[in-house]
């Protein structure tokens, strides 16, 4: 396996978790009720744990002295490989829950498949992470139904969030050279094959939530190649400030 390809693949896995974790952490102390504040930060904590596993491995594979912290705090936006969906701002609670629901559904199926990776370390991380991802998916599915099939106001906000974020879901299944190479080696998964089960769960959940699955076909892309929305820069500015200002600072 050529190192740059595996490194790239691991960055994608790690950056998705890291950036979404950071977004969810922004809710800390601002949740609509205490239980939700705690739940969102717990999900963030799980995702941060996953990010550490992936980025530590990425650093070892690269073998240039970058550990998980250096990879998280000392890369600029163009070097991040997360999908655009996870860097989208929290918005209202409908936006946060819908972003989570789209991601969790994909993440669950991705990790389920990655358990069978030919790379032992990848398989072990996936086996660990899928247990938490299952729980996250149960939770975000519950909330989509509760808010979608809730009041007129919550329903309208959920439909708006579902529509607005839809354009970022295509990238989840987009397959490029890196994905093809990882798939051919038995290490990665076929992202296109994740789309039907993802769609099935979204349709089933939206039906129960009285929401309409957005019909849009045009999709935003670029995050996996380091082309991001301007929102990532602001997120990184906050996340990386301390390590940028005081290089190597220890807690």
């Amino acid at each position: 396996m050529p190192v740059p390809v595996l490194f790239e693949y691991l960055l994608r896995l790690g950056d998705n978790c890291l950036i979404l974790s950071q977004r969810l952490s922004e809710w800390c102390g601002h949740g609509p009720v205490l239980e939700e504040d705690i739940a969102l930060t717990n999900v963030a904590l799980d995702l941060l744990g996953h990010a550490r596993f992936w980025l530590s491995y990425a650093g070892e594979v690269e073998d240039e002295g970058r550990d998980e912290d250096k990879l998280a705090f000392l890369r600029d936006a163009g070097e991040f490989r997360n999908v655009l969906l996870v860097e989208q701002p929290n918005g209202d609670y409908a936006m946060t829950i819908t972003r989570q629901f789209y991601f969790d559904t994909w993440h669950f199926h991705l990790l389920k498949e990655l358990q069978a990776s030919s790379d032992l370390r990848v398989s072990e991380i996936a086996q660990k992470a899928v247990k938490e991802a299952t729980y996250h998916l149960e939770r975000s599915t519950d909330w989509v139904i509760r808010l979608g099939d809730g009041t007129d106001e919550s329903h309208a906000r959920m439909q708006r969030a579902a529509d607005d974020l839809w354009q970022y879901t295509g990238e989840l299944f987009e397959t490029d050279e890196v994905d093809r190479e990882m798939l051919a080696s038995g290490l990665g998964v076929d992202l296109e094959k994740l789309q039907p089960p993802w769609m099935e769960h979204v349709q089933k959940t939206f039906a129960e939530a009285t929401l309409t699955v957005p019909p849009g076909k045009w999709m935003q892309r670029g995050g996996k190649r380091g082309i991001h929305t301007e929102r990532l820069g602001y997120l990184l500015a906050e996340m990386q400030f301390l390590q940028r200002a005081y290089l190597g600072a220890q807690w």
Binding site: E35, E36, I38, A39, N42, V43, A44, L45, D46, L47, L48, G49, H50, R52, F53, S123, E124, I125, Q127, K128, A129, K131, E132, Y135, E138, R139
Partner: protein, 162 residues
């Protein structure tokens, strides 16, 4: 002079005295965090293997520090502490004694991990009623969910089956 070292059983009993930093009523061995204690003849050192409960659990670093401190306190200098992810930690590894202690401490112990959380209905640790309902899937730590008892009306933490 023949070098002597403690038996693995002795080490297990020392580790059994290290409390979990977040649920001090349980030891790290009760929770199933310590997976292996072995003497490695070739490296001439003990190998201690631990596993995280939840991926992001911040207690793992504190636990590793405690293990190192404990080993040195017992004059064991030659040991290697490693973290292992697979097989992933499950609440099924929790001892019956641990479940009993949790119950007495006011935290409903986990049901078998294969049972869905909604179906599990933890028994209220205060009054023993099984008429309980889930308030939030997450509680004060990643390993717990928040329930309330419909009989005595007390809220309580339940250890999630994982």
């Amino acid at each position: 002079m023949v070098a002597t070292h403690p038996t693995t059983n002795e080490i297990w009993s020392w580790l059994d005295e290290i409390a979990d930093p977040e649920i001090p009523v349980l030891s790290i061995t009760d929770l199933g965090i310590v997976r292996e204690v072995e003497w490695d003849d070739i490296a001439n050192e003990f190998r201690v293997v631990i596993t995280p409960t939840y991926s992001g659990c911040p207690a793992l670093d504190a636990i590793a520090d405690e293990i190192r401190r404990c080993m040195r306190e017992h004059n064991v200098e030659r040991f290697r502490l490693t973290t292992q992810l697979a097989p992933p930690w499950t609440t099924d590894w929790m001892s019956d004694r641990a479940k009993q202690r949790l119950q007495e401490y006011g935290i409903a112990p986990p049901a078998h991990s294969l049972i869905q959380i909604e179906a599990a209905h933890p028994v209220c640790p205060q009054c023993g009623s099984s008429d309980t309902k889930l308030v939030s899937r997450f509680g004060s730590t990643p390993c717990k969910a928040l329930y309330t008892c419909s009989s005595c009306l007390e809220p309580f933490d339940a250890f999630k089956p994982h």
